[in-house]
């Protein structure tokens, strides 16, 4: 029993358990369906934030283009649902029945071949997982093999986000343009707009998010997690210990992309549409802010950060719509300057010591062999400069 306690403490499962209770029990009991659906929407961003903890916090790679993967996941879910909503009977007033309405409006008379796979749910789900990951692999492999990193990489991810928005808006006939893909109703005949469906989707979403956190926690506790931390601080030492550093970064980027895509797909299911406004530069940066506020070293913290910023956004943008963006920017600057490890960092440095004296003992007696990198989670703030300068050096060499 005691050993179990120590293990839960070390692996950080306690905090995951608390989060799971809040998401899966407290929220559903205390909120009406409208609010709960809103929280469900926020939690889909939580996937992106959790991915950013792995990529940015652990891997030291800042991506300002996570919206691309969130959007891709969401769009591919939307494509499936749109095709289901566009059966020939419902769309018989169109000049070409059986294709999505926006295609008909754009004088397209035939379903493009790359829409075909999205008639089938299994194929659509596979695409949700694989297409964004594949894109992430191509981008990151090309960049990291050439030792592009730090700010340069961040700028490139921004460019990708911009390209993606332009592409989606420009190809209106195939993508629904600036409106996105709307009027999504059913998944295999199951009406996702009904109350029970909304509840079910909320719990599926929450469960998946907890699952994603557990998966990331497992990765953090493996040697790969240790290596990511080691790489971020001493990239050359890892490289000259026989590791192909670039492939580890590629892995982190693909992982973050896949998680974002799952979030995007869940967003589409719960909100009922997908549009380019979740793909571009601004939403991508917002997602980084979620992770930064929550704490980029803490998986659980990132989810709290996402919830907090989004609640703030909802309330403030209702009362002061013009001020919200400024407030958001101030929040980001404030976080970076004042508490670089976010809410989780504040918790580690201010709250934990209050009741940490009892806890400290079992941790020191723990076996060294399977120690977690917890020392570094609460440790000193990490200079984001370090990996950047390392990459510049690497490039000139």
């Amino acid at each position: 029993m005691n050993a179990l306690k120590i293990w839960i403490g070390k692996s950080g499962l306690g905090s995951v358990l608390i989060l799971a209770l809040i998401i899966l029990v407290v929220f559903p009991l205390t909120m009406d369906l409208f609010r709960l659906n809103l929280v469900g929407k926020y939690l889909t961003y939580g996937f992106v934030a959790v991915g950013l903890v792995m990529l940015w916090g652990y891997g030291g790679v800042l991506s300002l283009g996570q919206g691309v993967f969130f959007g891709l996941g969401g769009y591919m879910m939307a494509m499936f649902m749109k095709l289901e909503a566009s059966d020939p009977v419902t769309t018989k007033i169109q000049s070409t029945p059986g294709i999505p309405d926006f295609m008909d409006w754009n004088q397209i008379t035939e379903l493009p071949f790359w829409w075909e796979p999205f008639r089938h749910l299994p194929l659509a789900l596979i695409a949700v997982l694989l297409v964004p990951t594949l894109l992430a692999f191509i981008i990151s492999y090309a960049m990291f093999k050439r030792r592009v990193g730090g700010v340069y990489f961040a700028i490139i991810t921004q460019a990708v986000a911009l390209i993606m928005t332009v592409l989606i808006i420009g190809q209106q006939g195939y993508t629904g343009g600036v409106n996105g893909i709307t009027d999504l109703k059913t998944m295999l005949g199951w009406d996702t707009r009904e109350d029970t469906a909304k509840y079910i989707l909320y719990f599926v979403n929450g469960g998946l998010l907890i699952g994603a956190i557990l998966l990331c926690r497992w990765i953090q506790m493996s040697k790969l997690g240790t290596l990511l931390l080691a790489m971020r601080d001493k990239e050359d030492r890892v490289r000259f210990s026989g590791y192909d550093v670039s492939m580890f970064k590629v892995f982190a980027f693909c992982l973050a992309a896949m998680l974002s895509a799952i979030g995007g797909a869940m967003f589409t299911l719960q909100v009922g549409f997908m549009s380019p406004s979740f793909v571009g530069i601004v939403p991508s940066i917002e997602m980084v802010i979620f992770a930064a506020v929550g704490g980029r070293m803490s998986l659980v913290g990132a989810v709290y950060g996402t919830l907090l910023v989004n609640f703030g956004k909802t309330y403030f943008s209702e009362s002061f719509p013009d001020l919200w963006l400024f407030l958001m920017a101030a929040l980001f600057i404030g976080v970076v300057l004042a508490f670089p490890n976010g809410l989780a960092g504040l918790y580690e440095s201010h709250v934990k010591p209050l009741f940490g004296r009892r806890k400290a003992k079992p941790e020191t007696t723990a076996a060294p062999g399977d120690g977690t990198p917890h020392t570094s989670t609460g440790g000193k703030p990490l200079s984001r400069g370090a990996p950047i300068s390392g990459d510049v050096q690497g490039q000139s060499a």
Partner: protein, 247 residues
């Protein structure tokens, strides 16, 4: 280039940075089991030479053969996997991790992404970590966060991280810089022990230390080799005296 019995054969190696030849047609052979010390004034190209061998810097011309395999085109991690370990000038360890973790991460298994995911710290790994830690005098400090070690201990830890990989060629850049007299002695003993069964290249400035550890000394000056041989021979070479005392 011809094949040789040497563990490391550097031939006609040249690297130029914007026209400046940091290493100029340098040829150097290192025997198996040899402890070679490279000395030379600042800017002689000693560290650059190590950078070239381990792949951190790419050669403009020439060849570096390790056990008769060409290394100049290989990626850094492949050079390491071939059996060349390199210690950097300033201790380069993972400060946030424990001594144990530092050594464990350096264990040469689970080096691919998915290999690292599936890596388990088995008894074999633990034993190896313990034996290396004992070797470098950190056997009792496995749980200590590496950042809290003394400067000398950090240097040893990095040497230990290299030993975990069991390299056949070990390159140490100023291993005793900033060490106390006692630590220097311990390091000299450590080097004498670890060069059994492998070749070691050491860059060093401290002549007493060099005299104590070196099998053979190479003097570099302006990217070239000025003299090579036993410490006595090198010390009495008029060219060497000129470079060190002249100007």
């Amino acid at each position: 280039m011809s094949n040789t019995d040497f563990v490391l054969a550097v031939e006609d190696l040249t690297v130029s940075f914007d026209g400046f030849k940091a290493i100029d047609a340098l040829t150097l052979y290192v025997d198996r089991g040899e402890l070679r010390v490279i000395i030379g004034p600042n800017g002689a190209g000693k560290t650059t030479l190590l950078d070239l061998i381990c792949g951190k810097t790419r050669a403009s011309a020439g060849s570096i053969k390790f056990k008769n395999v060409e290394m100049t085109k290989l990626q850094e991690h492949k050079i390491v996997r071939a059996g060349i370990g390199r210690k950097f000038q300033t201790p380069s360890i993972y400060e946030n991790l424990s001594v144990f973790k530092n050594l464990e991460v350096s264990f040469p298994r689970g080096r691919s992404v998915f290999g690292a995911l599936g890596f388990r710290c088995t008894d074999e790994v633990r034993e190896r970590v313990q034996s290396v830690a004992d070797e470098i005098g950190l056997g009792d400090a496995l749980d200590v966060e590496a950042g809290l070690l003394s400067h000398g201990q950090k240097q040893w830890l990095e040497i230990g991280m290299l030993l975990m990989q069991e390299p056949e060629l070990l390159m140490l850049d100023e291993p005793i810089a900033g060490m106390s007299v006692r630590e220097r002695e311990l390091t000299a003993e450590l080097l004498a022990r670890i060069c059994k069964g492998r070749s070691v290249i050491v860059i060093e400035h401290d002549m007493d230390f060099v005299k104590r550890i070196a099998h053979k000394v190479t003097v570099m000056h302006q990217g070239k080799i000025l003299a090579e041989g036993s410490m006595d021979k090198v010390q009495n070479d008029p060219k060497v005296i000129d470079v060190y005392l002249g100007h």
